[in-house]
């Protein structure tokens, strides 16, 4: 009995062991709980739109968790890794439009233009491009007609998915265009290459150009009609726009000009029904999703599309110094981005526009004074205007407007106790003397000397003279007296130069501004006009400290600079206060409502990747460069549409266009929108010494750099991973 028990025990142990062992090998086929595998994900028709959303989100966010946590690409800080942030940096930091004050790795190399093939930011840009291409390839591969047919979806579903597929091809073309533009001869991978560790072949710029062109042509018919797709998704106009950009730069890419094609594509976009927004500033605010001008945005949301890159970077990084973060709808600035004086100087006037010089109140209230009661004010010394003695030496001066035949006297105090008249109008005052009288209406300069009891009454008429005026120092531009304003005013076009105020077309009585403090001195220093423009100038002589104001009644509202506490010159790139700041991108709406993120971190503002304003300028440039099918008159008209929006009237209208004007107009209209590097290369101004900006090439005055820097290097990491590639020349 006992031995039987033992035998049963033994067999039980052995059999049990074997059973457990064999049954558990199958346990190695573990599948994820949360993720879905590619085997099942495409069986559900609802998933196609979610994967398409990832292709678009690849331009905006850094990964599957906002703002950070599950990154798409690695090897770089996740906040720095987003597509838009890298693209923006690559297009703006090596140009005259932007400097950044951060000492992160080799980030300063962008503006110094001495990057190498191991620059982590250039590498991240390259990796983002190919990450996006890889995702698009996977999607296009999984949505072929055959595969859709196999999965047995109904026709309407299939039609939808085909539209998605066309958009995926657009997104792939967009990224390949970025690769073509920035890296040149690059790896080439399509949906025909399965995922795995194969080595992609190298393509040339010419081949890639042809591929992108063919792709965009191929999907032109499949994409949604312009302005008919859901907001955020690409339509035909986006494809036309991309084609236009391809053609406009074709000479750079392939050596073969395609300006006529560029004109054609631009016209398609222009005719598609987009309209300029009424105000320039609203293009960069949280409600820019309502814009009729934006053709293709990259969308963001304060709660649902969060990233440390993208618009979060573009709203936070330019805020610093004495700027108030609250005005930008954010919790704080990152004290990074500013611009160089080159961009500032492209605008006729800068400073928020209106008031360049404000009237200075001076010390008026402290001066001793006498009163001028008379017919002009009802003979009441208590309310009479005054003459004052700035020196306190009982000699008084002042200006007053008198109508014809006005009589008046002087009182030493706001009462009649001690008063003076001029018996005999001989210029000598007598206590209790006769009334003084002017015959003509006019603006009179009155001087009273109570020490010697003398008086002079001189009629004056004021004008503007100087090198900034139309007739230089030769003759005055007459000003007119504005009784309501109690000031002499003039609106005049001025060039860069100097001005003074002069009476009666003679130098005997003139005012300038020593110390540029807003207070005028007789025979004082000339007043500088730093920028050309149309100015409204007012001269205030009604108060004893004579002052003036210079305003720009009509100005370019695109000049969105923050200057307070900022230096125009950049002595130190790492100091935020060197270089003007830019206030373009904000997390507030056109009506001032702050964005949805209660933390104040993540803006709702979308990025205007393609917009109509750009198309107008591309059209103008393509026509100027000889593209057929358009007209210079239309080109000028389009450019002036942008300028009228900027000025609010026709005061900024151009009468002729040249290529240089178009390039400058592009920087005025499109600065900080990630176009500048490509534009400068197209105009031959990116690397050469024909156009310099502060710290170009790493030295303060700027210098030309090697021509090969028009292309970024293929990252060293990919040259190692893929021996099919070749480094771009020069690196």
């Amino acid at each position: 009995m006992k031995s039987l028990f033992h035998k049963v025990c033994t067999i039980g142990v052995l059999a049990g062991g074997m059973f457990v062992a064999s049954s558990c090998i199958g346990a190695l086929d573990r599948v994820p709980f949360i993720e879905v595998t590619s085997a099942t994900v495409y069986a559900d028709a609802n998933n196609y739109k979610l994967i398409l959303a990832k292709l678009y989100a690849g331009l905006a966010v850094s990964g599957q968790q906002g703002p950070a946590g599950r990154p798409d690409i690695s090897g770089i800080d996740e906040g720095f890794s987003t597509y838009l942030r890298q693209y923006w940096k690559a297009q703006e930091l090596p140009t005259d439009e932007a400097v950044i004050g951060w000492n992160d790795g080799s980030l300063p190399d962008y503006h110094d233009m001495d990057w190498t093939s191991s620059n982590e930011f250039i590498t991240a840009m390259y990796n983002r491009i190919y990450y996006q291409i890889g995702l698009c390839n996977e999607y296009i591969r999984e949505t072929t007609d055959e595969k859709l047919a196999e999965r047995g979806f109904d026709a309407a579903v299939v039609e939808n998915i085909k539209l998605y597929r066309a958009e995926a091809r657009f997104l792939r073309a967009l990224s390949y265009w970025h690769a073509l533009d920035m890296f040149g001869n690059v790896p080439f991978v399509t949906e025909l290459d399965a995922v795995g560790s194969f080595l992609p072949e190298r393509t040339t710029r010419g081949e890639l150009f042809a591929y992108i062109e063919s792709e965009l042509k191929a999907i032109e018919a499949e994409l949604a009609a312009p302005r008919s797709n859901e907001y955020g998704r690409a339509d035909k106009a986006a494809a036309w726009m991309l084609l236009a950009k391809l053609y406009l730069n074709a000479e750079v890419y392939t050596g073969q000009a395609k300006y006529t094609e560029a004109v054609t594509e631009c016209k398609k976009v222009i005719d598609a029904g987009f309209t300029l927004d009424a105000e320039y500033r609203t293009l960069f605010l949280t409600d820019n999703d309502q814009s009729d001008e934006i053709i293709f945005p990259v969308t963001f949301d304060g709660n649902r599309t969060k990233t440390w890159g993208g618009m979060t970077f573009l709203v936070h990084a330019p805020v610093g110094g004495s700027m108030n973060p609250a005005e930008f709808g954010i919790n704080g600035g990152w004290s990074g981005l500013r611009t160089t004086k080159n961009l500032v100087n492209k605008f006729p006037a800068v400073g928020g526009g209106t008031q360049l010089v404000s009237p200075n109140e001076g010390n008026t209230a402290n001066y001793t004074k006498i009163y001028v009661p008379g017919a002009h004010q009802g003979w009441d010394p208590a309310t009479a205007p005054t003459l004052t003695s700035a020196a306190g030496d009982r000699t008084f001066e002042g200006y007053l407007w008198f109508e014809a035949g006005t009589e008046f006297k002087f009182t030493d105090g706001p009462a009649w106790d001690v008063n003076y008249g001029d018996n005999g109008a001989d210029g000598t005052l007598e206590p209790g003397g006769a009334n003084l009288k002017v015959t003509d209406a006019g603006f009179y300069k009155l001087n009273v000397n109570l020490n010697d009891l003398l008086v002079t009454v001189e009629k004056t008429s004021w004008g503007l003279i100087g090198s900034a005026t139309a007739d230089q120092w030769n003759s005055d531009q007459d000003m007119t007296y504005d009784a309501a304003e109690q000031a002499w005013v003039i609106t005049a076009p001025l060039t860069v130069g100097e001005i003074k105020f002069r009476s009666n077309d003679a130098w005997s009585l003139n005012y300038g501004d020593g110390g540029a403090d807003g207070i005028l001195e007789r025979d004082g220093a000339n007043i500088a006009i730093p920028n050309a423009g149309t100015y409204l100038i007012k001269l205030y002589l009604d108060k004893p400290d004579y002052t003036y104001s210079i305003e720009i009644p009509s100005f370019d509202t695109r000049a969105m600079f923050y200057t307070q506490g900022q230096n125009l010159e950049i002595a130190d790139i790492f100091a935020f206060t060197d270089g003007y700041a830019i206030t373009k991108y904000r997390n507030v709406s056109s009506t001032g409502v702050v964005g949805s993120d209660s933390e104040g971190n993540f803006p709702d503002t979308d990025f205007p990747m393609f917009r109509l304003g750009d198309v107008y300028l591309m059209y103008a440039e393509a026509v100027l460069r000889g593209g057929a099918g358009g007209s210079l008159a239309d080109a000028l008209g389009y450019v002036n549409q942008l300028r009228r929006r900027a000025y609010g009237d026709n005061s900024g209208d151009l009468t002729e266009l040249t290529l240089d004007i178009v390039l400058d107009e592009r920087s005025r209209e499109l600065y900080w929108e990630a176009h500048r590097r490509t534009d400068l290369i197209r105009f031959g101004k990116f690397t050469s010494d024909s156009y310099l900006w502060p710290w170009k090439g790493g030295i303060a005055p700027g210098r030309g750099v090697e021509a090969f820097r028009s292309l970024f290097p293929i990252p060293a990491s990919d040259l190692v991973a893929n021996p099919n590639l070749q480094q771009n020349p020069g690196y």
Binding site: G17, S38, K49, V61, G63, Q64, P200, T305, G332
Partner: protein, 974 residues
């Protein structure tokens, strides 16, 4: 076994005429020894000593010889003669103290070992204020480097056995506790998963170093294996109650040097502009004094050990309450352990049941306060009247809100944050070892075990605290549960074959392990309760199935051969690559047992070992790296189409061909003993070559759905020498002195990193630093050690001052570009040493442990980040303090990549000093008491200018300082 047979002897009838009594003591400390077998030689008559070490025995006559035996002690024989009281003292047997060593799925006598294995038992453990098990053996074992992650309560350690074998996969050894390979990945809410194991319950560490020893653990053995056993009751034990308490006081050893308030004022007044000068305050605050404190801790443990007839047991409970020196940091642990070791069927079935549980309450301090304290303006007061909790904060003058770029008030960071967690972990197993009745040479062993943990925590910061003002406060919680299951079954057959003077010991088994983890993370939006910042859930699983076997063959008792083979299947790899085969072979020759040495009076032990083995690595952090997967996005990473937002689906990059990383190890060792083993030691030389490294490398752009992927590429070599020496200069009844030293040399070199050979490949940047974003200071390069520093060579002027921004143009292209960086030194030491000594003189005992490392370098990130005038001159609306390094370098802007900041961090540390007094027997011998005074981290000798030269990874960036701790320990046994 010995005790069982002794028990049976007790029942034998006795017919003796003389009654002999006596007491057995230990020569080590003079204490009475319970459970010593006293046997009349040549008979079956015998008894065990009782709890007072006393025995009574009848013998036939005075010619009788008493044999006193106790495990781990030298056996003594005493002729009775005319004595009626025979008191003896037993001497420790140095050679057999750790005679039986755990080797994985079995045990082996130390003298029969063929691999590099070290056993350390509780009597050699480091004492003091220890809250995590690995610290028990720091510095004690050659080739094992244990570096604590700072001084926070419960902080873990980096354990490296013979350096790391991997680049990106785990370099942590496998830890097996009572037969359960435990999950050594983190547990949410615990600073360190091992802190949930009470060190007081641990009986021994067995460290398997070379592959011939570890290969039986196959795919998880590349970084060595640590087998931990817990204390257990023994058959025949009477109930003993032990109470152990340690009271500790921890203090800072110094502070990170910063400018004093007056020095700071001077710099600001000299270099600042008017606005910056206006920011200076009138206070004189040492911010480090503000955030640190002297911390008191206590640790109480009570254990009950004993045995019923067939059921030895041990039950223990412990309570630890440890305060950290950084204000608010605290850890409390309540633990319990139960061990039952009954046997049945005439000892044919032996059962070993262990249950351990611990409950941890943590209060985590915001360690960012340490960096803030370094950077905070010392001229500002701690407290002011304001709406931000009354802490002085730098405000943005335009908004009146806390300045987003300025450091936060260090005390405010600590006191306004409530970051607490509760963690429960239990490890348990039941092992059934059955010796077949009809074939006693055959054993079947079944072990089932579990390791479960559950961690919950919450993090709260009020909305008005500056630390979280911008996001409107913090209200976050997390919850993690882990369920890991183990099943092992093996058969073991061992037999002496006298005919050929051989012994054969064969084992074959099967193992199944399964790991499931679930995580929930919620971060509530306090200002908009309808929204959450994060609300995520994740669950993942992986499974290992293994078959293994071992053959030990012994010829003539002195030629030993071991072969092991393990086949592992991991769910992490595709069916094609799933299975890995890990063989090993080892040979040992007990030279001392050869005729020419057997009677040597000089050489008492000599053994030569040769070993070879292949081990693997599959711990790649992701459970599904070979599967094409699509992962959904969180709610905060959606994309807008029209007026709707869509959660996206992302295809993940994958390597369908990913497989095991393999490490080949060769080991040659010699174990020796001289002068009756008064001098013992061993020397080992090893090489380890890891191939198919699991490395994260750039994929060819466009060829995968990611830019970097974990794949098998690259090779690393490790080469090293380990020397262990133990001396017993004095070994007498009342005076005993032992001294041990160990020495390790290890050098690792990367020999390949790319799929396509390319000598121009600069390497893989690693070692992120503070300052800027994404800056790294180290690089993996072929031909260099892992993580070598990658820096510019600083140029100095004739006065020895570094010239800011000027570096040596290494490649001579006339410009200073990133290509001019060079590889300089390594954070890993080439040499490390440990030494310990123990002196027992009467009732006094004293000991110390020294640890040191030579050739390790450190990047002083505190100086490179904070030692610049820019902290003052570039500040708008706030000022930041500097380290005095700026006075020496004169740097205006950060020169992060200058080798100026790489410092020699070799050190020698007096880690532990103990002084004990044995009060002996109290209360009529019923109570034995011992008091011990312990000092930890007493002295460090180093050239390194920072606070502490010992930082894993070699980047000094505001480590939680390791305190100096003084403790008083009381041990009572009843």
């Amino acid at each position: 076994m010995m005790f069982l047979s002794m028990l049976m002897l007790l029942s034998v009838a006795m017919h003796a005429q003389i009654t002999v009594r006596g007491t057995v003591r230990s020569t080590e400390d003079g204490t009475e020894m319970q459970g010593v077998s006293v046997l009349v030689k040549g008979t079956t008559t015998g008894v065990f000593t009782d709890q007072n070490g006393a025995y009574t025995l009848r013998v036939a006559d005075g010619n009788a010889v008493l044999v006193f035996k106790y495990y781990g002690y030298m056996t003594r024989e005493v002729t009775v003669g005319d004595q009626t009281t025979v008191d003896v003292s037993l001497e420790l047997d140095v050679q057999t103290t750790s005679e039986v060593v755990l080797i994985g799925y079995g045990t082996q006598k130390k003298k029969d070992l063929t691999g590099a294995v070290v056993a350390i038992t509780s009597k050699d453990f480091i004492q003091g204020n220890l809250n995590t098990p690995e610290q028990l053996i720091a510095g004690k074992v050659a080739g094992v480097q244990i570096t604590s992650n700072g001084g926070a309560p419960g902080a873990g350690s980096r354990i490296r056995i013979r350096g790391g074998a991997s680049l990106n996969a785990s370099n942590d050894p496998l830890i097996v506790i009572d037969g359960v390979p435990v999950d050594n990945n983190g547990i949410s809410g615990a600073a360190n998963p091992l802190s949930l194991i009470n060190p007081n319950d641990i009986e021994s560490f067995n460290i398997l170093k070379d592959a011939s020893a570890t290969a039986i653990y196959g795919s998880r053995a590349s970084n060595g294996v640590i087998i931990i056993t817990t204390k257990k009751g023994r058959t025949g034990d009477k109930l003993a109650v032990n109470y152990n308490a340690v009271f500790s006081l921890a203090q800072r050893t110094g502070q990170i040097e910063v400018l004093s308030a007056d020095e700071f004022r001077e710099v600001v007044n000299e270099r600042g502009n008017a606005a910056q000068k206006a920011l200076l305050g009138n206070a004189n605050t040492n911010w480090q004094d503000v955030i640190f404190r002297d911390a008191f801790s206590m640790d109480h443990n009570v254990s009950l050990t004993g045995a019923t007839k067939t059921m030895p047991y041990r039950l223990s409970v412990g309570y630890l309450n440890q305060n950290g020196i950084l204000k608010t940091s605290n850890m409390q642990r309540t633990s319990a352990a139960l061990g039952l070791t009954p046997s049945f069927f005439d000892d044919h079935l032996r059962v070993d049941i262990n249950l351990k549980g611990a409950y941890l309450n943590n209060f985590f301090a915001d360690q960012g306060a340490i960096g803030s304290a370094v950077a905070f303006d010392p001229t500002q007061p701690v407290n002011v009247q304001n709406e931000f909790g009354g802490y002085f904060e730098w405000l943005d003058p335009s908004t009146g809100d806390p300045n987003q770029l300025a450091p936060r008030n260090p005390l405010g960071l600590l006191e306004s944050r409530r970051d607490v967690s509760n963690v429960l972990r239990s490890i348990g197993n039941a092992q059934l070892d059955y010796r077949f009745h009809f074939l006693p040479d055959l054993r079947a062993n079944l072990n089932v075990g579990y390791d479960i943990s559950s961690g919950q925590g919450t993090r709260d910061i009020p909305a008005n605290a500056a630390a979280a003002f911008a996001r409107g406060g913090v209200d976050a919680e997390y919850d993690q549960s882990k369920i890991n299951k183990t099943l092992d079954f093996y058969l073991n057959y061992a037999r002496d074959i006298a005919a050929i003077d051989s012994r054969v010991d064969v084992m074959a088994g099967y193992s199944y392990q399964d790991f499931i983890r679930e995580n929930t993370d919620i971060d509530l939006n306090l200002s908009t309760p309808a929204d959450t910042f994060t609300n995520s859930y994740y669950k993942t699983q992986n499974t290992l199935v293994s078959f293994y076997g071992r053959l030990n063959y012994t010829f003539k008792g002195r030629y030993l051969l071991t072969f092991t083979l393990r086949q592992d299947g991991s769910s992490r790899f595709s069916p094609e690559n799933r299975w890995g085969l890990f063989p090993s072979a080892a040979f040992a020759w007990r030279v001392v047992d050869e005729a020419f040495l057997r009677n040597s009076s000089v050489v008492s032990d000599l053994k030569v070992r040769l070993g070879y083995g292949v081990t693997g690595q599959q711990d790649v952090f992701s459970d599904y790296p070979y599967l094409p997967r699509y992962t959904p996005s969180e709610n905060n990473a959606q994309y807008q189409f029209g007026n709707n937002f869509y959660q996206t689906l992302r295809p993940e990059g994958y390597d369908a061909n990913i497989k095991w990383e393999q490490t080949e190890t060769y080991n040659i060792g010699v174990d020796f003993g001289f002068a009756q083993n008064r001098i013992t030691g061993s020397v080992d030389y090893y090489t380890r070559n890891t191939k198919d490294l699991l490395s994260v490398i750039p994929v060819p752009a466009g060829s995968n759905l990611t830019n970097q992927i974990l794949t098998n590429v690259g090779n690393i070599e490790n080469e090293g020498v380990e020397v262990t020496l133990n001396f017993v200069p004095v070994q007498r009844e009342k005076l005993n002195f032992t001294f041990g030293a160990n020495f390790t040399y290890n050098q690792n070199t990367i020999t390949n990193l790319t799929k396509v050979a390319d000598p121009t490949f600069p390497g893989i940047l690693v070692g992120g630093i503070s300052g800027g974003v994404g800056n790294t200071i180290q690089i993996h390069t072929v031909g260099f050690p892992t993580a070598a520093f990658f820096v510019y060579r600083q140029v100095y002027d004739e006065t020895g001052m570094p010239v800011e921004g000027l570096y040596v143009d290494e490649n001579g292209d006339g410009r200073i570009t990133p290509d001019d960086r060079y590889r300089y030194k390594s954070p890993e030491p080439n040499y490390f040493v440990g030494a310990s000594a123990q002196l027992i003189a009467g009732n006094f005992s004293a000991g110390f442990v020294l640890r040191g490392s030579i050739g390790n370098y450190m990047y002083n990130n505190i100086n490179s980040n904070q030692g610049v005038y820019r902290n003052v001159t570039n500040a708008s609306n706030f000022l930041a303090n500097m380290t005095p390094s700026v006075l020496e370098s004169g740097f205006s802007n950060n020169q992060f990549f200058s080798d100026y900041y790489i410092e020699n961090a070799s050190f020698l540390r007096l880690d532990n000093v103990t002084l004990g007094y044995n009060l002996g027997a109290l209360l009529n011998g019923k109570l034995r008491a011992q008091v011990t005074a312990i000092g930890q981290n007493m002295l460090t000798i180093t050239k390194y200018t920072g606070l502490d030269p010992e930082i894993a990874g070699g980047i000094d960036n505001n480590l939680y300082p390791r305190p100096r701790t003084l403790s008083l320990g009381i041990n009572l046994t009843y």
